[in-house]
Structure formats: C-alpha cells, structure tokens
C-alpha cells in the first residue's frame, strides 16, 4: 500500500493506468493531485470530506461527456474545500490566479516564472 491509496480510494472516477496508478494528461493535474495527497496526510481534511467535495463537483450538470474535465472538477473541489475550511477565500484564489497569469506573460523566456513578476502586484 502506498501513501496515495487513501486519496485514490476517495476519488471515484480518477483516470488510472492498468497498474492502478493515476494518469495525468498535464503536469498541473499531477500538482493538484499531489497537493490533495499532502493535505490529506496533514489531516487538513478527512477522506470522507474530500470524497464529498469531489463528488459534488463531478455530479454537477454540464460535465463533458468524455470526462476530459475530471481534473477541472478536482481543482474546483479542492478550492471549495479550502475556502470552506477558511484557509483562504474564493476572492483571494481568483486574485492569485489572475496574478499568476500576468506573471507568466511578463516573464521573459529562460527566466523562472515567479509571482513577483506580475506587474500588477
């Protein structure tokens, strides 16, 4: 049993390989997964809380038929859970999201993308 199994068990529909490992289409999906695993380990939320938050997003109407938005739902669930736990607010997350996008655009090639690079900060 590896450290990720509780997260896997609590995440219905997670795309998996034949070996049972999660499969990510893009790096950010792996990062979102890894953050959830860590928050779990730290006891920030229980697995039933996570399962409920994720299902809530997964069963919303308007999902893509090919389930290609699975990790969009994952990120929405994680965002909701951390705001419900008063770790942050939706406004702060939205602000930071825009800030990161501006930072990326403002970062020249070859330099690390840092939040400080956002000209609006």
């Amino acid at each position: 049993m590896n450290a990720f199994e509780p997260t896997l068990a609590a995440s219905p529909g997670l795309p998996k390989s034949h070996q049972g490992d999660p499969v990510f289409a893009e790096p950010w999906q792996a990062e979102a997964f890894a953050m959830t695993v860590r928050l779990h380990e730290k006891g920030v939320f229980s697995w039933s809380e996570w399962a409920e938050a994720l299902s809530h997003e997964l069963y919303k109407p308007g999902r893509r038929a090919d389930a290609g938005d699975y990790f969009d739902c994952w990120v929405a669930a994680l965002s909701r859970l951390v705001t419900e736990l008063s770790i942050t607010s939706q406004e702060q997350l939205n602000d930071l999201t825009q800030s990161w996008q501006r930072a990326a655009e403002a970062t020249p090639h070859g330099k690390p993308i840092l939040l400080e690079n956002d000209p609006g900060r």
Partner: protein
Amino acid sequence: MHDHDDHDDHDHHDNHFSEMQARVKALETVLTQKGLIDPAAIDAIVDTYETKIGPRNGARVVAKAWAEPDFADWLRKDATAAIASLGYTGRQGEHMRAVFNTAETHNLVVCTLCSCYPWSVLGLPPVWYKAPPYRSRAVIDPRGVLDEFGVTLPQGQKIRVWDSTAELRYIVIPERPDGTEDLDQEALADLVTRDSMIGTGLARSKGEGR
C-alpha cells in the same frame, strides 16, 4: 541593438499559463503561505509519477527513427512535421527540432524554467531540471553536469548544449544501443528514457529493463 521583432509582440508571449495552470499555482501559493504544504514535498510526489505524465510520445518518435531511416531523415529535416505525422502535437506554434547524438557529438538540452518545456512529447521535466543552477552550470560545464548524472562520455565526444527558444523546442535522439537489431519498435521505445531525450542520460541497453 535594435529589435526587429516588434511587429508580432502583441500576439505572442514567451510564457503563458492556462486558466487551470494558474488556478493550481494560486492554490499552491496560498497553501504554501499557510505552511500547509511545501513545494519540495509536492515536487517529490509529482516526481513519483513523472514517467506517467504525458503519453511518452517522444520515446515512440525515437524508436521509429531508429527503425526507419526514412523517418529519421524526415525528423532531421522537419521534426515538427515528422512528429505531427504520428499524431503528437504540442501547443500551437510549438516547433520541434530533433538533434541526433553521434559518436562525435552528444547533445544536451537546457531551459525548462519557463512554460516552454514540450512535456506532451517528452513527459514531465525532472524536478532538478527546473532549478536555475542546472541551466547555468550545464552551459558552463556540461561534462561536469553529465558526470554527476553518471553519464561519462568518451573523451573525444563533443558536447553540444541547446537552449530552447520561445518558438523552438528540442528533442535529443539518443544513439541506438548495440544488440537491439531484433527488437520491434515497441520494445525499442521501452529503452528510451525521458532523460535520454533531453541528453542527461543515454538510452537503456537491452535487458536493462525499467
């Protein structure tokens, strides 16, 4: 020196984050500030899955180049089209160039600091690859860096370092290991590691396994 590229500045940036990339970075920022996660721990978890991210398309490109001289020629002349012919495409405007290792020259690719790493072809970059010291050291002392990775090249073999630009990404075509004449492309692809396609490793030899 005057910059002549002003005309396309408005519709093109070196770096770009998609909405979801930025959302995940936002979460990471908040959670890090609150001391709930640390980026190193996240990297370590992601690293566990590095080979499972992206479809390992690059390995199949290399295997095909080893097995089919015509494809290798095409790859050499127009890597973007040759790779696209297999159905593997990066983001719009992402041009690829294939650089072939030979007995005379070993190729090494730097630069994954920004968002330009072609992970859809190469898989996820290793954690250390994103560290600024790697980039600068690889340029100054490539042989020393390779040595640290356990890659010792023959004395006479030159090392060529490629720094990707915003428009051009590189894939290294490692040398085909000896004794692999009887392998099919599927088996050949298994010998091609992510590291061998960025030049910090060599292809596995037959029987080395994963």
